[in-house]
Amino acid sequence: MSAWLTPRSVITVGVLAILALLPLYASLSGDQFAMTLFTRIIIMAIAAVSLDLIMGYGGMVSFGHAAYLGIGAYAVGILWKEGAASGFVQWPVAIGAAALFALAVGALSLRTRGVYFIMITLAFAQMIYYAALGMDRYGGDDGMTIRQRSQFGSLIDLDNRTLFYYLCFALLLASIYLVSRLVNSRFGQVIQGARSNERRMRAIGFPVFRYRLVCFTIAGAMCGLAGALLANHTNFVSPAMMFWTRSGDLMVFVVLGGLGTPFGPLIGTATFLLLEEALSRVTEYSGLFLGPGLLLVALYLRGGIDGLIGGARRG
């Protein structure tokens, strides 16, 4: 058999083919809900890909990633409210604001290790959650409905659901490509080296802190973009989208799919969200099954789904 025909590549190509053809299915069957669900899956997958960059490849277990999602979304919402509906303004601001916050959080939290890092990223994300909760002008606790999607002039009309879907899909592929190029570059090798043995990387002479900070900021920026997409998808922003359990969900997506793999975050996101959707149709208490399932994944499925489908070949 040719070398590329592994279970992993077959499944990856299959998932991508399903995602690429979904709008066709939706328009044929009239199943608009599938469009909504899958657009959401793709957007969350972009966030998961960005988390995988720092958590999977960089070994930085950030428990506050939903904050960047929220910042990106709120940037769109606040700018719309203040009269700037142009996507050419909104999206760069969303990405920039998330990057800036990631830079600040990273500068403080990357000084620490292990459980401190987990708790500190968690606490800073919660700070942003409370900040959003206190902004009465932008809806406070209730959130804010955004009555107009980002305007890109004649370039692209985001109100067209199919076009918006493909835009998200293209951005997802672009972020997967970006991350895989990044981690295989010299920069990425330093980041991965620091995950395996930080002391040695430092001894060779790499300023590990600065490399990590840059990596952390890039991931924040990517997640900010996902946030901008999410705000456009739901036409709504609320503090709940950056509550700390949302950050936990993102971690689950990444680990379930496979830490430090290019397509793992996408597969994990799709699996979890589809499973959640399916379970919620059968039972009102889906957590009774998802919760123990997560515990089992943490205990026995260390490589995630990617490890499961790739494991047979690797031996």
Binding site: M55, V61, F63, L108, S109, R111, T112, G114, V115, Y116, I118, M119, I120, L122, A123, F124, Q126, M127, Y130, A131, A132, L133, G134, M135, D136, R137, F243, W244, T245, G248, M251, V252, V255, Y285, S286, G287, L288, L290, G291, P292, G293, L294, L295, V297, A298, L299, R302
Partner: protein
């Protein structure tokens, strides 16, 4: 000034509550090296148990005692079934596993007690306010919380520093292999410590139950505050947790009460009412950031970490 004293008392009371949660978390982390996100679920369980038992027995005190025992047992069972396999794994596994447990408990509580939430009413003599100093009236129940928690903190201190069990706990924290080699049943010790942490969290939940509504997810907000307390105090240090809990309780409460007014004297009233609530709820996180810059290990770093 009187308002300030009242708010300070509120702050101390919140701090006491945070201490109960943080002490359990920090014990569990210090000894078993476990990050436990399900700690907030035990807090929630304590509150639900208290509301149920108090209703069944018609007595707040009896209900509270039963609830305390029930949370301890829940903690022990949880440890044996789900937590034990997580020991010795990396922190990411802990986060995921205990996050799963949290999701499980939220839906389990919804299944058993329904989605509506509960209230726990106090005995009538607890509802009165007493004059603590001339001109300042303060609810008896909140004073009871402060008093009882102080007693628990003292008891915890004596247990950890002066008893044989406490000696084992401290020994387990500094060198678990050696404790095991000396013939101590380390598994049982871990289960007991987890149960103790669970009981402390449940105690915090049941004390808070009459003040707040008992509802699903009630532990999720306060868990993060307890994390902030641990970060400020130093992971693994009970003394640090005590100092940091009171600090966080005071700053959070007083900040919420006074920052919006202080801003109003500097900014326009429109700007202040926008910024005030957001800023005052961010205060403790800024404090945490500030402390991290100067002392990345917290105020009282545990000696062996």
């Amino acid at each position: 000034m009187l308002y300030f004293i009242e708010q300070s008392l509120n702050g101390v009371q919140l701090g006491m509550l945070l201490f109960l949660l943080a002490a359990g978390l920090t014990l569990i982390f210090g000894i078993m090296d476990l990050v436990n996100l399900a700690h907030g679920s035990l807090y929630m369980l304590g509150a639900y148990f208290a509301a149920t038992f108090a209703e069944a027995t018609d007595s707040f005190v009896l209900g509270a005692i039963l609830a305390l025992a029930a949370t301890f047992v829940s903690g022990v069972v949880l440890e044996i079934i789900a937590i034990r396999p997580l020991y010795g794994r990396n922190h990411l596994d802990h986060v995921l596993g205990t996050f799963g447990i949290l999701i499980f408990f939220n839906d389990l509580v919804r299944l058993i007690w329904g989605p509506a939430g509960m209230t726990l009413s106090l005995p009538s003599e607890m509802l009165n306010a007493v004059q603590v100093i001339p001109g300042v009236y303060y609810p008896v129940y909140r004073l009871v919380i402060i008093g009882v928690t102080l007693a628990v903190a003292l008891l915890l201190y004596v247990t950890v520093m002066r008893t044989r069990l406490g000696m084992l706990i401290r020994a387990g924290a500094s060198n678990r292999e050696m404790v095991g080699a000396l013939g101590i049943n380390i598994k049982l010790l871990y289960t007991l410590v987890f149960g103790l942490g669970a009981a402390l969290a449940g105690f915090a939940g049941l004390m808070q139950a009459p003040i707040l509504t008992v509802q699903i997810g009630m532990g999720e907000n306060i868990l993060i505050l307890a994390f902030v307390v641990i970060i400020i105090g130093g992971v693994g240090s009970i003394r640090g947790a005590f100092v940091a809990a009171i600090l966080v309780g005071l700053i959070d409460t007083i900040g919420r009460a006074f920052v919006p007014d202080m801003l109003r004297s500097v900014l326009s009233s429109d700007g202040a009412s926008t910024l005030g609530p957001a800023l005052s709820s961010m205060l403790i996180y800024m404090l945490m950031a500030g402390i991290l810059v100067f002392r990345p290990e917290g105020l009282f770093p545990a000696a062996n970490r």
